[in-house]
Amino acid sequence: MSSIKNKVSETMRAITLPLLAFFLAILSGGLLIAFSNPEIYSLWKSPLKFLSTGFASAGDAYLALIQGSIFDQNLTSKNFLLGFYPLSETFVIAAPLILTGLSVTLAFRAGLFNIGAQGQFIFGAIGASYVGFHYNLPPVIHAVAALLGAMLCAGLWGGLVGFLKARTGAHEVIVTIMLNYISIYFLLWLLSTQTFLRKGRQDPIAPPVQENAQLPKLFGIDYRINLGIFIALGVAYLIHILLTRTTVGFQFRSVGANTLAAKTAGMSVPFVMTSVMVICGALAGLGGAVQVLGSEYALTAGVAGSFGFDAITVALLGRAKPLGTVLAALLFGALRAGGLTMQANTTTPIDIVLVIQALVVLFIAAPTMVRAIFRLKNVKSGTDMAAKGWNG
């Protein structure tokens, strides 16, 4: 009994901080929405009206956000279930976000900071797209081949980072920042080559992936939700198992905890770093594949959006744990999906989502501050953001 109680209180302590941080971020975002409404300033004289207008504009925006991410009454005219279309969108966005988030999470656990998920995502998308449009394969096999192609491309791209770090000590953050830009330009160049140019088009878009390579939709053509979300959840479970229950995962965590000690314990640090980054790359690449094969069906210059960067905030909010990463990705997926509706229905730009995302992470990173605001004592603060230098 007491162990269950302990576990519950443990979990409570673990999620209190993220929840409070999220609450604070939403609050700050609301203030920003309210005060960026120019009309509000003419109401200075009547405080009540001033407040209610501000409250209303923030409320409207957040309501639209929820409408756009979970359930929208306006869509139910034909069929009640269609009201859940936004929820399907949330999952569509969350799937690649989970995968890229896991990429960052796994790297964190092995003591590496993978800012390169963006570039790895691009390489995954390239691999998936190429296998998807260039070959003719039977159903299932084609999709699997495309996914594998993505993991291979991105895995190598990610592995390069680990290799350089292990061999030369080059800081992975610097290398990944640079590789991200190289990936973008590489993609742009690729889309201008004959192979990747869609027939009859001049703009940077690759030929569509063939139907056999596309990930099946789960609930018919009305909803965009596809197998991608299950792939993402399955992979998250695998990463959880990898980290907690396997000897390889034990080695990853050991290297993350103390590289020198891992070395003297006879573990091969270069091997671990390289293989971790290969897996991280493959994960982010899988994200790119899910995006291309599951919802976009073609490689474009903007295919990566900001998935690779959101992944970092996702991993940080998820406290570098697979389950946390999944939850954080669902949350940010909802914010993104809802943000589009919010932008369309109210005058609130989707960019507020970025602000909220950044603030959440800032608040989480500074537990002392959140504790001070809420006068808490018993909040678990992670050590996952302890500082390390350029040379370490």
Binding site: L32, T168, Y185, F309, A386, W390
Partner: protein, 422 residues
């Protein structure tokens, strides 16, 4: 007694540099000279406008040019090797060699075309301006031991603030005054969280960038687009011609017919360089970035100094951000810094964390960027995307140490807590 083959790190670096230069020169001879299929005249134009005319145009055969410059490069690298043997500096030789290789490349790439040489350099300088400001912000932070990934955010905040304020007041001066303050506010977040809360500075810088991008994009869509006339139609600075200096052939119009921001940049670079190596503040800053405990033991207030330097950095980067709006196009655009902050970071690293090195790297990156632009118009054998990659590849090569490893200040990124539990 035979000479012992133990070289100091500096000598080793020189040796590697000299030999790398030689290999590149030979590569240039082969690649741009021997392997050049067709040859055609290349024309260099040196005239921008009304400066004293020394040379107007220079036309030469592209293959001959490539051969000539490659051979010159080989000679320079041999000179460098001789100097290395005599234990002398090889900076001048490397610069000349590099320049020759570049010219050989230009002869090859622009075969049969015209290159507006002066315009190329002027454009390169303009493209380098934000990079230089950003890199100086990096120097200020990182030399005192705080990693600054938030340069992008500081630039963007400066650009936004300058654009909006200049538009609201219809006065560029106000824009210029407010931009540094905006940059410093962003720095304040960095300073408080990094120094007070000891949070990983890479993560922090990253998150700050997201925050600034989100904020500016949000306000841009919410205010700057709908109310463009009042909020986003700022005036721009006009170039100031410096009498006499601007009349120097070739260099005059490039360096001395610029806006006030560029002149401020010259001053800032000079001040930072001199201060870092010639003043007590500089000595303290370097001490704190290297070994905070030792600095503390001689009575330097480590965290105060770091805090101040990070705020200074914000002021500098913010002013650099103003270049995007009041210094160039007037109106603010969503994410208009477009990764320049990260190239500035690359320049900082490529320049080995030294102000002059960073400026040189920024100029080089600016030049590559502009060259790419010019060549993509005239047409070239190399896809422009690959030229755009150049700064990033160069930086990776620098940090992986294929040409002499660069190392950050020893304590860069490590928070200092006195008597803490280590």
């Amino acid at each position: 007694m035979s000479k012992v083959s133990t070289l100091t790190p500096v000598q080793k670096r020189r040796r590697r540099g000299a030999f790398t230069l030689l290999i590149l020169s030979i590569g240039s001879l082969v690649g741009f000279g021997i392997l050049q299929k067709n040859t055609a005249p290349v024309t260099y134009r040196f005239v921008l406008e009304k400066e004293w005319i020394a040379i107007n145009e220079w036309t030469l055969d592209s293959r001959t040019g490539s051969y000539g410059f490659s051979i010159a490069a080989i000679l320079f690298s041999l000179w460098a090797i001789i100097s290395f043997r005599r234990n002398k500096k090889i900076q001048l030789q490397s610069a000349l060699g590099g320049f020759s290789i570049l010219m050989a490349f230009l002869c090859w790439a622009a075969s049969g075309k015209m290159i507006p040489f002066t315009g190329l350099l002027q454009g390169a300088l303009l493209l380098s301006v934000p990079l230089i400001f950003g890199a100086m912000a990096g120097v200020l932070c990182e030399r005192s031991g705080v990693i600054n990934i938030a340069i992008e955010g500081q630039l963007l905040a400066g650009a936004f603030a300058a654009g909006v304020v200049a538009s609201l007041t219809q006065n560029t001066t106000w824009g210029l005054l407010v931009a540094p303050i905006a940059g410093a506010l962003i720095s304040l977040i960095l300073a408080v969280f990094a120094i007070k809360f000891s949070i990983d500075q890479v993560i922090l810088g990253f998150v700050i960038n997201v925050l600034v991008i989100g904020m500016t994009s949000f306000l841009y869509k919410k205010l700057l687009i709908p109310y463009q006339n009042t909020w986003n139609s700022g005036p721009i600075l006009t170039p100031i011609e410096i009498p006499f200096l601007s009349k120097i052939p070739l260099l005059g119009p490039i360096f001395f017919n610029q806006t006030i921001i560029v002149y401020l940049m010259y001053i800032i670079v000079a001040v930072i360089h001199l201060s870092l190596f010639k003043t007590r503040w500089g000595l303290r800053t370097r001490a704190v970035g290297e070994h905070p405990t030792a600095a503390d033991s001689v009575g330097i207030k480590v965290n105060n100094l770091r805090f101040r330097n990070v705020i200074f950095a914000g002021l500098v980067a913010g002013l650099g951000g103003a270049y995007f709006t009041v210094g160039a196009v007037g109106a603010f655009g969503k994410e208009m810094t477009a990764g320049k902050g990260f190239i500035a970071l690359a320049a900082l690293i490529f320049g080995r964390w030294s102000p002059i090195g960073a400026v040189m790297a920024a100029l080089l990156f600016g030049f590559a960027d502009n060259l790419q632009g010019v060549l993509s118009i005239t047409g070239t054998p190399i896809p422009s995307e690959f030229m755009l990659m150049a700064p990033y590849i160069a930086t990776i090569i620098a940090v992986t140490g294929f040409i002499g490893r660069v190392r950050a200040p020893a304590a860069d990124g490590i928070p200092y807590n006195r008597g803490g539990s280590n």
